[in-house]
Every structure is written in C-alpha cells, then in structure tokens.
C-alpha cells in the first residue's frame, strides 16, 4: 500500500500542471491560476483540519486510557480474526451446513429434511396454529366425499370400472384438497395414507373409511333422527346405513321406506318428499334386493336379507300384533301407528300424529295430509 502511495505521489507531482489544466475547465482565462491556487489552498486547509481533528481525538483517547481498549491479548485476537475464505462466512461458519441433514421424526418415524423439520412436527403432532385449521378443512371436505364412498360399497352390482373410477375420483379429489391446504404437498396419497400413524391426519382418514353407520349400535331415537335427515338404506354388504341425503339417487324411496319399517316398526313416520315423487317404476340397478324387500312388506319379514329374515322371528313377532290393530293404535313415542306393508318415512322424530295407512295403493294419497301434519308438529 505504501509503495503504491509513494509511486502515486511521484506521478502526481510530475503531472500537476497537466492535471490542473484538465480540471480547470469551468473557470475563465487569466484568473485561472490564481483561483485554482486559491482552491487548492482552501482544500489543503480543510484536509489539515481533518487531520488535526483526528490527532486531538487520538491523543485524548490515549491520555484517557481508552485508545487500546479494542485490543486484547494476541491469542484472542487470532481466535476472532475475520475469516475471508470462500464458502464460509466471516466467522468461519459454513452457510448451509444443516441443509442436507435429515432428522427422524419421533412421531411418524420418517426422515425429514432439517429445514422442513419444524413445520412437519407441527402438522405431525397436531399442534401449532395451522394444523387444526387444515385438519378441520380436511374433515369438512371429506364429509362430502364420504357419502360417495359409502355408496360405492352399496352398489355391489356396479362393475369394476365404476369402482376404480370411484377410487380415482376419491384420490383425485383428495389430491386437490391437499394442494388447497398447502402448496408444497405433492406426495402421493398412498404414501401418506399408509404412514400417518397418529395425529389429525390419521383421524380424518379414519373418519373417511368408517363413515357408514351401523344401525345395530344406535338407539331408536338416534335411528329416527338419522332417518329423518339421511337416506339410511342399509347396504347388504356392510350392514351400514347410507349417509346420503333423502333424495340420494343410489337408493329408491322404496328402499328407504323398507329401512324405516325395519328399524322403527311398521308404522314409522312417512318420508317427507318421497311419496309425492314416488312412482311404481323400478329402474334400479339392484332390482333383486328391492323385490325381496317388497316381499317382506307383504309378508312382514325383516327386510335386510331374505336369508336372515326368517331367522329373526322376534321382529316379525313384535310386528304382527301391531299390524293387526291397524286403525286404532295411537302412535307412541316408539313411532307406532299401523300399516302392514305400507312404509312411511320419517318426517319428524318422535311424536307423530296418527298415521293410519292401510294398503299400498292408498299410500300416495294418504300420505299427503299426514305430511302436512307432520310439518305442523315439527314447526
């Protein structure tokens, strides 16, 4: 540095006249030199002022004893010297040392990248701000999807194409659902499904798979409330009730009525809209179960399976007396009423007005006035 400086000074002094001419452009002729000299003098004074200021500052620091405070012993000075190597910051630390390291999650036992570890733990353990929000969103959307899923199980007569389409639809929907929640999710669903052991994610999936309701576990009131809002048709395979709406296209009103008779007794309340829409045409894929159900209505056998119906005599026994007493039976809270083969779906929960329905044929007409009375009760 000093060598360069001395060289520079030598060059400078030799070229001073040259330089002055280059810098002098704005000033006019003969006064040039004088003004230029003046300017230089002023400049020199300013620089000397600056130097003097520094000297006073240093001298005061020396005399007050704080001049050498930033220096410690040689050892510490060397230890904290500024590092100037490539790939390393001035403290000598490597920048992305932990980027490539992986940590094992204590929850799900997966290897996660270090920089993603904290957000993963948040989701995995179900703590933290966003995890509950995402889980709720997943539950809400899976609710809609679960009905289609339970219907897949019902339609055993559908061919394999439909089944795989349904599964595809399910995965596709789930994938889009995930991408809505967080933009980074691109893992395959199967991977996720298999490996989430606990936490909110697992719960939502479990909910999906177990949405079918088994009527055996429900009490009469619960059954009634379910049947008033849901289709409720019991699948032959899984013995679970369909959770779709009352107008679900997978099942007919006949089926729904059959279920209600089965579950609530022969004098069960009417379906709210079904009878008005209902026709006698059966264009349903699974005609056979339906026919068997119709047969029960006539013979008053339990509607689930023709095979199992004869086995369960209790139901039929309990129903027969009620059936014979048709017109005079008042409706109790168990949902009585009479009506041998006629089914009336649940329009309200417990106390229904007396619904006396005698035959199948009269069903459409008779149900109209009771419906309005049901609604009055509800209101």
């Amino acid at each position: 540095m000093t060598g360069y400086q001395s060289y520079y000074l030598a060059v400078k002094t030799s070229n001073r006249d040259f330089q002055m001419k280059m810098e002098d452009m704005p000033l006019s002729g003969p006064d040039n030199t004088r003004l230029e000299a003046l300017a230089h003098d002023i400049y020199s004074e300013l620089v000397e002022d600056a130097c003097l200021g520094l000297c006073f500052e240093v001298h005061r620091a020396v005399k007050q004893g704080y001049f050498f405070l930033d220096e410690t012993d040689q050892e510490s000075m060397k230890e904290f010297e500024i590092v100037d190597q490539p790939g390393v910051d001035i403290f000598g630390q490597v920048y992305n040392q932990w980027k490539n390291k992986e940590c094992e999650c204590p929850n799900c036992k997966r290897l996660i990248a270090a920089s993603r570890f904290a957000p993963h733990l948040e989701k995995c353990l179900g703590m933290g701000r966003n995890s509950s929000r995402i889980a709720n969103r997943r539950l809400a959307s899976s609710n809609n999807m679960s009905k289609s899923e339970s219907d897949q199980e019902d339609n055993d007569d559908l061919n394999d194409n439909d089944w795989s389409y349904g599964a595809e639809k399910k995965t596709k929907k789930r994938k889009s659902d995930k991408s809505q929640n967080s933009p980074r999710r691109s893992k395959s669903l199967k991977h996720k499904n298999g490996e989430i052991g606990s936490g909110v994610g697992a719960e939502s999936y479990k909910y999906n798979y177990n949405t079918g309701i088994s009527y055996e576990t429900l009490g009469p009131d619960e059954v009634r409330s379910l049947l008033t809002t849901q289709c409720g048709v019991i699948s032959e395979h899984t013995k679970k009730m369909c959770t779709r709406s009352q107008r679900c296209p997978q099942h007919t009103d006949e089926q729904r009525r059959a279920v209600r008779v089965f579950l609530l007794g022969p004098s069960a309340p009417t379906l709210p809209d079904a009878d008005a829409v209902e026709t006698d045409s059966f264009d349903i894929p699974d005609a056979q179960p339906l026919m068997s159900r119709l047969q029960w209505e006539d013979s008053d056998i339990s509607p689930t399976d023709s095979a199992s119906s004869k086995a369960s005599t209790n139901h039929s026994d309990s129903r027969k007396p009620k059936k014979k007493k048709k017109p005079s039976l008042p409706l109790n809270s168990g949902g009585g009423g009479s009506g041998s083969g006629s089914l009336a779906g649940g329009g309200g929960s417990s106390s229904q007005s007396n619904i006396s329905i005698s035959t199948k044929k009269k069903r459409p007409k008779l149900s109209a006035p009771p419906i309005s009375s049901i609604y009055d009760d509800l209101n």
């Binding site: 400086q5 000033l27 006064d31 003098d41 002023i42 050498f68």
Partner: protein, 101 residues
C-alpha cells in the same frame, strides 16, 4: 508592484475566506470531507498509523505535536483521488459564484 499584486491577492483571499465562513460553506465542506474520509477508510488507516507511532513513542509520553508531525503528512497523502476531486469541484463552484475580480 509585486507587493501590490500580492496584497490584492491576499485581500481577495481574505475576502473569499470570510465569505466562505460567513455563508457556512466552509463548515459544510468540512463535514463533507470528514464523512467521505470515514467512508473510504482513511480514518481507520490513519488511526492504525497512530497506534504505531504511540507504541513507538510510549503510551505515557505521547504529545499532540508528536502526533501531528507524524500523522499530517501521511494523512494528506492518503486522501483518495475521488474525494479530492469532488472537494475541489465544490470549492471552484463557490469561487466562480462569489469571487469578485
């Protein structure tokens, strides 16, 4: 003759200097120079040189004059060209405006 010119010259100088001070331009120039010197590292360089001088002379016996005589010439030399040019330009501008010749 030379004396008259010189006295005129010195008069002019005195007048200009006075104007500089009165208008506050000198203060401004001084602050500008200080800031630029700190920015370019001149101050730290010179401080390091001071440390050497002090270690040489001994901490207890350093005087202001010692420091001044040691430091000023080096300081003058160490000013970077860009800073010098800028300051000279400003001075010239001032002179062009206010120098009555």
């Amino acid at each position: 003759m030379l004396k008259r010119i010189m006295s005129k010259d010195s008069q002019m100088r005195a007048a200009i200097n006075q104007k500089l001070i009165e208008m506050g331009e000198r203060e401004r120039l001084k602050e500008l120079l200080r800031a630029k010197l700190v920015e370019c590292g001149w101050k730290d360089q010179l401080k390091a040189h001071c440390k050497d001088v002090i270690r040489e002379k001994g901490l207890e016996h350093v005087t202001v004059e010692d420091l001044v005589t040691e430091v000023t010439p080096k300081g003058r030399a160490l000013v970077p060209d860009s800073v010098k040019k800028e300051l000279l330009q400003r001075i010239r501008a001032f002179l062009a405006q206010h120098a009555t010749l």
